[in-house]
Amino acid sequence: MMKVFDEYRALSDDTLKPDQPKAKRFIEAMRKFLDKKENWTFWLPYILTLELCVKCGTCGEACPVYTASGRKEIYHPVYRSEMLRRIWKRYFTLSGKIFRGLAGAKDVTEDDINALAEAVWRCTVCRRCAMVCPLAIDNGLITREIRKIFDAIGIAPDELKENGTRAQIQYGNATKTPTEAFKDTLEFIKEDIEDMKGVSVEIPVDKKGVDYLVINNAGDYIAFMETVMGIVEIMNYVNADWTLNTPDTGVNDVVNYGLFYSDAELVAVAKAQLETIRKLKPKVVVIGECGHAYDSFILYKKLYKEMYGEEMPFKLTHIVALIDRWIREGKLKVDKNKNPEPVTFHDSCKWGRCAGVYEEPRRVLKAVCKDFREMYPNREMNYCCGGGSGFAIMFKDEFLKFRMETYGRIKAEQIKATGASVVATMCANCKGQFREIIKYFNLPVRYAGVSELVANALVYK
């Protein structure tokens, strides 16, 4: 593939079409997103970030891509934001139109646009930079806003669009799993738990009006089955009134890749998911181990009001919060000796910085693991693993190498320093990235879902 920004490519030639002109269309689309009404979803943080940056460089110090790359100029958060800011100045501000270069404006070229299209796929929107910025402005948000502009002119990674949001809306899940195959998987899970644990479990589907509708990341049923098995066992253990749902009811996949690159897609997926939930009428929607999904659902509270003119009629929680409560209430009896190996925890950006879920997983892991160890830095200063904003399922060309040589390298060092043999995390994207990190750096560790470790510690009798 043609080089447009650096030695990597996240977008295929088919998607980017580097030879075809697109600067004009880009500027037109950009105009739309500078409009308060058109872009109400993120207008204020977007504009503030465009207008206020004082180039103090603090964000760069916090950015895993910049620091791990050996501080390459092109990976500095400000470098990427400036690529957009120069266009904004030149075409949308008076000072830029008059003073041009002196005001930081620049006529845009087709090469600039191609480079920008790739540059936004070197940042996982982990928002660690925004956490430290003295002005509280957000280069991660700029990344996402640029992706929105590109999506509006038809340029988005096929992993996230054709095979992501579009597939999810069409098939009910991004894995394109039909109901029959889904039910077969559940049957397999049931048998497996019964064989391995000697306990019989029920996996209800499509039940209406239950206490808990659990929606998982559909990828978990293929790649991280242990997490789903853990959840099934836990729901059975407490004898909950619960259900999973099949594509027959609409969407049975909790992901929303729109969060990564497009508000239009975010809303389209949200609508499909919310319609499904409205049909099933659960009291509580339980998000499985999927960080960005929980983050999206936080946004749905507002979107729901916009769509239906009323408050969300169901409560929102996540599986680890439920587990935490049930352990504290004594409903889940656990024995930490059943997980004797040293376990560390990776704070996913989406669960942590973006949603504030720090304590629940820690309380749970301390209850079910004999030797829990913190990873440093952690919580709000944790480093993104490199699976964020869709990267976990993006493998084109040398892209995996990019993921490993930047975020991956830092994360591998962090894990090594803990001496743990298990990395627990509650996000499917992080697990996908850990699978690769462990292989790439040949680490003597395994990754595990929190639910899986809990199920392993359950005491029967």
Partner: protein, 220 residues
């Protein structure tokens, strides 16, 4: 030359005030009337009003985020910011008519000058900072240097601000109280005020929005 001095001290101030006020007003209204965006806060954040004020004061007075995350520009930035705060204090003390105001002004301008020179020097000597700096960054710092340097050179802080402002309000500008050196300072001050709302230096108010409306969640 006399006409020029009259223009700077007797005519320009009206324009300056108008542009400054309108510019700032425009920015504030533009941000304030933005539609309520989707939640985009970062956790944890101070939730009560008291905690938020405490956090804000800590940031404004110590530039805490720089101490923690970017020490190489901390002291310089702190000097510059405190210089500007103290210059603000000079205005108040001068209007009240306290004699100590003169020395406060000197300290404020000296800190601003030292802060802007040292920031300029790190910016130009540190490879990483130099890479992300454009003309505007150097321009802003040079502007602050010129302003504070000129104020010190012209011994500007001896000026009786109250008399001057009252003469402006009465539309009988007292321009005779200024020396030629003062006029240069006065010109720079006014150009700075005109430039301020249009530039990123407006972050002194923008920060309210980035923290209270975005990073710390919608202010209830």
């Amino acid at each position: 030359m006399v006409e020029f001095e009259y223009f700077v001290a007797g005519v320009l101030p009206y324009l300056t005030v108008t542009v400054f006020a309108l510019g700032l007003f425009y920015k504030l209204i533009r941000w304030q009337t933005s539609p309520e965006h989707l939640p985009w806060e970062l956790y944890p954040y101070p939730e009560t009003f008291g905690e938020q004020i405490k956090e804000l004061l800590k940031e404004v007075t110590t530039l805490h985020s720089l101490i923690k995350n970017n020490r190489r520009v901390w002291i310089q930035s702190l000097l510059l910011h405190w210089g500007l705060y103290i210059l603000g204090l000079w205005i108040i003390l001068n209007l009240i008519g306290l004699g100590v105001a003169y020395y406060v002004g000197l300290i404020g301008a000296t800190l601003t000058l030292v802060g802007s020179i040292t920031l300029f020097l790190v910016r130009i000597s540190n490879t990483e900072l130099r890479r992300i700096s454009a003309f505007v960054e150097y321009f802003n710092l040079t502007f602050l240097m010129a302003l504070s340097g000129s104020a010190l050179y012209s011994n500007f802080f001896r000026i009786d601000l109250k008399t001057y402002l009252l003469s402006l309000i009465a539309f009988k500008p007292n321009v005779t109280m200024f020396t030629t050196e003062d006029i240069l300072t006065l010109l720079l001050v006014q150009l700075f005020l005109i430039y301020l709302p249009l530039s990123r230096l407006v972050h002194f108010v923008g920060k309210y929005f980035t923290y209270h409306k975005v990073k710390w969640g919608e202010a209830e």
